[in-house]
């Protein structure tokens, strides 16, 4: 096992003045006694974590969902979420990991397996008996919103199938699709390709790994390191050549930029080059708009859209570019959510012992949607698991903002999620 390094968080630790703002805004601590709050589990408990300590003082750190609201509100810049992630990894390094967390961490493998026969996979997983057994045997909450494989095939298959029709251009971007777009929601990738091509970019989709975030969240740093190395090997060259690497899954892009290099102490040149080349898709589109390069030939879209910027999007520290861009579309009225977190936090809300906490955390967001539901057909959110949780908690269908933008260009049908 690779020893967990604390180097980058050690100094940040001394910045904590114990003001407790993090604890008062922590959405998890607000609903359960099982998590005492970021200050206690982060900078305070950190004083008792020593290299080589035979027994970890931690139990409650596992109840940190990793949403990073604490980092967001901390007035002194303590890397609280990173301290917690490292502490969890230390526990995993010492005590090992349950099978369930290994599975959740390797969504790419599970998803890939299902994509061989998506209909069969859906049938096998999405029935009451399977979900009951999955909860009893493995500990995956039976009520949690697991995704469905897309019966019309993967995003990669679609790209290959439509190769001859894809735009060729001098200006190229690399698309990072992530596992969810590849296997469950290829239509999000299609919408992104359509928007990028509409703006004159050729979209390249090179081979790529899972970004490794589910592994990082579950404390499997060694495995995450090999995933990230794979992405550096396959993608850093594009960044070096000046191609922007654009992604629709905001947690994947955050991982490539920051989570992986920061938590894994990967300061190598390749990781840094990759980081500097990655863009969240609306961050990229807003940059185009700032330079007068974004096409604005929008159709009018009469749409009232409650929008939730997920935690991982806010952690990019790029503002809310999806709002900036969608505000340019005539007819769209955006209601901005200020809810802290939808609760699911990647794999957290899928765990049987955490499902109820995740739903209680999400209630703030669900209430916001209920209060803004008049005449609303869809909500919008940049992260797939958050969209699934939003739909689970509100029964209102949710869309990635890129789907909305593709519809505004007249390229996409929001209802059927198909290119027009």
């Amino acid at each position: 096992m690779f020893p967990i390094s604390w180097e980058s968080v050690d100094h940040s630790l001394d910045e904590c003045i114990k003001c407790n703002i993090c604890t008062t805004y922590c959405p998890v601590s607000a609903v359960t006694d099982l998590f005492p709050g970021p200050k206690y589990v982060g900078p305070q408990a950190q004083r008792f974590r020593e290299a080589g300590q035979p027994v970890s003082p931690d139990i409650s750190v596992d109840y940190c969902s990793g949403c990073r609201v604490c980092n967001d509100v901390c007035p002194t810049g303590v890397k609280i979420a990173e301290i917690n992630a490292r502490a969890r990894a230390q526990i995993v390094a010492q005590k090992g990991l349950p099978l369930r967390n290994r599975m959740l961490g390797r969504n790419d493998l599970v998803a890939g397996l299902g994509s061989i026969a998506p209909n069969l996979a859906n049938l096998a997983l999405h029935n009451g008996f399977s979900r009951f057994m999955a909860e009893k045997v493995v500990g995956i909450a039976r009520g949690a919103p697991l995704p469905r494989w897309n019966p019309s095939g993967t995003f990669g298959a679609w790209m290959r199938r439509t190769r001859s029709r894809r735009l060729k251009s001098q200006e190229k971007v690399v698309f990072f699709h992530g596992c969810a777009t590849m296997h469950y929601e290829p239509f999000v990738g299609k919408a992104a390709v359509a928007v990028l091509e509409h703006n004159g970019f050729e979209v390249i989709v090179p081979p790529q790994n899972c970004c490794g975030l589910p592994l990082l969240s579950n404390g499997e740093f060694d495995a995450a390191r090999s995933y990230h190395r794979g992405n550096v090997a396959r993608l850093a060259g594009f960044a070096r050549a000046g191609f922007p690497i654009v992604g629709t899954s905001t947690s994947c892009t955050l991982t490539l930029k920051e989570e992986a290099p920061e938590l894994l102490d990967m300061v190598d040149k390749g990781s840094q080059t990759l980081r500097a080349g990655v863009w969240d898709i609306f961050e990229f589109l807003r940059d185009l708009a700032d330079r007068g390069r974004l096409r604005t030939d929008f159709q009018r879209l009469e749409l009232r859209l409650p929008y939730h910027a997920p935690c991982q999007q806010r952690a990019h520290r790029v503002g809310k570019p999806a709002i900036d861009i969608l505000s340019l579309v005539p007819g769209i009225q955006i209601d901005e959510s200020h809810a802290r977190c939808c609760g699911i936090a990647g794999t957290y809300g899928y765990k049987a012992e955490k499902y109820a906490i995740a739903m209680a955390v999400g209630e703030e967001l669900f209430r916001f949607v209920r209060e803004h539901s008049e005449g609303v057909q869809f909500t919008a959110c940049d992260s797939e698991t958050c969209r699934w949780q939003l739909e689970h908690g509100t029964a209102v269908p949710s869309r990635h903002p890129i789907e909305v933008l593709a519809a505004a260009y007249g390229l996409y049908d929001l209802e059927s999620r198909k290119l027009t």
Binding site: T23, A30, T32, V73, K320
Partner: protein, 421 residues
């Protein structure tokens, strides 16, 4: 392009932003985390002590004339301070969080602190008002077993030593929460529930003696505070007041929420987790300020900028191990001595205060930062407000919130006039 970028989401920054957006400007707020409002008692301290003197001053507004001409209050003028406080009162009243004070008399109130000291302040949330030492009714201070940092005996004993009549009681934790360990914000959120207020009232009624006013930790509701407080007061049947607690402070958080909500309703984006790291200027005009991001800095372009990053506590200054102390965004010169040995007097409670707390960014009469004292403004489109300003010792003077609100509003006015002109 954005008219005004406000850097800082404390009381000064929020006041500047509200004032600007209500004057018709387009505004955005960026801040590194949330402001120090969350640590405050929620009161608006305007001017409690003249440095060197030990007696509380009577009329804070009138006493401004006794301050040094470089003091922020002297720069904006007593009329502006008073007008700003009225504006502030309108904002919070609109939000359902009314503030009161002995304004007609312009007299400082003396409010019990969490250790039972009496703190001079000019405006308090109505929920704290009846704790003023000027009222004669004896006090009953009630605490709760397991509530950290609120000890009713300590408060009552200290109040008695200062000639007030006060006693203490404890109630069980279960009245506050069903969960084991909760902080004051979480407790306040729980007490938004009317059923819990009724249970609390039932327990309190048994403790009160006729004629007593009842002091409770400031946890009576968060989002539904006013309703919860009124219900509790009427159900208990006696005068009620809140005593602020140590951070996290519920009254400070309510104040932050009230101002934040007003800004968000006006369409102002407040972006937290934004550490301002760099800027660019053409000549003496600032073009943009950039904040640190996950892969690349984010540039915020605006026509005008208000610096409200706070002082030493709020993080507006940084000092390096080598001794250099500087302003974090524009690297403006500070009036703080670079030699650390001059930061403090030998005595912790020196009545003159500690020199380092008086230091900050020197500004002209329009609140525009100066390159050096007596020089011209560093940038034509930059204003400063709040604890970042030099010339005041807010801790000693008890002037922190008054300076924040009045200079915040004044800076926005001046930026607005410049933009219009």
């Amino acid at each position: 392009m954005l008219d005004l970028l406000v850097i800082g989401a404390g009381l000064a920054g929020l006041s500047a932003a509200i004032s600007a957006v209500e004057a018709g400007l387009t505004v955005k707020v960026v801040s590194m985390g949330l402001g120090t409002t969350h640590w405050s008692a929620g009161t608006i301290d305007v001017f409690g002590f003249i440095p060197g003197a030990t007696d509380t001053i009577g009329d804070p507004i009138e006493s401004i004339a006794q301050l040094d001409p470089s003091h922020p209050y002297r720069l904006v003028g007593p009329e502006m301070v008073e007008a700003a406080l009225h504006t502030f009162q309108r904002w919070v009243a609109d939000a359902g969080l009314p503030y009161v004070g002995a304004e007609e008399a312009r007299r400082n109130l003396r409010m019990p602190s969490p250790v039972g000291a009496l703190r001079p302040t000019l405006l308090t949330p109505t929920a704290q008002y009846m704790g003023d030492a000027a009222f004669s009714a004896p006090m009953l201070i009630v605490g709760f077993h397991g509530l950290r940092d609120f000890y009713p005996q300590l408060i009552a004993e200290n109040l008695c030593k200062q000639g007030l009549e006060a006693r203490a009681e404890f109630l069980p934790w279960e009245l506050l929460s069903d969960l084991v360990d909760r902080n004051t914000i979480q407790i306040a959120t729980g007490l938004d529930d009317p059923a819990r207020i009724r249970r609390l009232a039932d327990a309190l009624r048994g403790l009160i003696r006729p004629g007593e006013r009842l002091g409770l930790p400031a946890v009576i509701g968060l989002e539904r505070h006013c309703g919860a407080f009124a219900e509790l007061e009427s159900a208990v049947g006696t005068t009620l007041f809140e005593v602020p607690t140590l951070p996290p402070s519920v009254p400070g958080t309510r104040l932050y929420h009230a101002l934040r909500n007003r800004l968000q309703k006006a369409g102002v984006r407040i972006e937290t987790n934004m550490r301002a790291t760099d800027f660019d200027a053409s000549g003496n005009r600032i073009d943009w300020v950039s904040t640190e991001g996950s892969a690349r800095p984010l540039k915020h372009r605006a026509r005008a900028f208000v610096l409200a990053t706070g002082g030493i506590l709020g993080g507006g200054f940084q000092s390096e191990p080598g001794g250099r102390i500087s302003e974090i965004v524009f690297d403006l010169p500070l009036t703080v001595a670079q030699d650390r040995t001059q930061w403090f007097h030998p005595e912790f409670f020196d009545p003159r205060g500690q020199p380092v707390f008086r230091g900050g960014v020197a500004v002209d009469a329009r609140l525009q930062p100066l390159i050096s004292v007596g020089a011209s403004p560093a940038y034509e489109n930059l204003w400063a407000a709040g604890s970042v300003l030099a010339g005041a010792d807010p801790i000693l003077e008890r002037s922190l919130e008054g300076i924040a609100v009045s200079t915040g509003i004044a800076a926005a006015h001046r930026a607005g006039s410049w933009l219009a002109g």
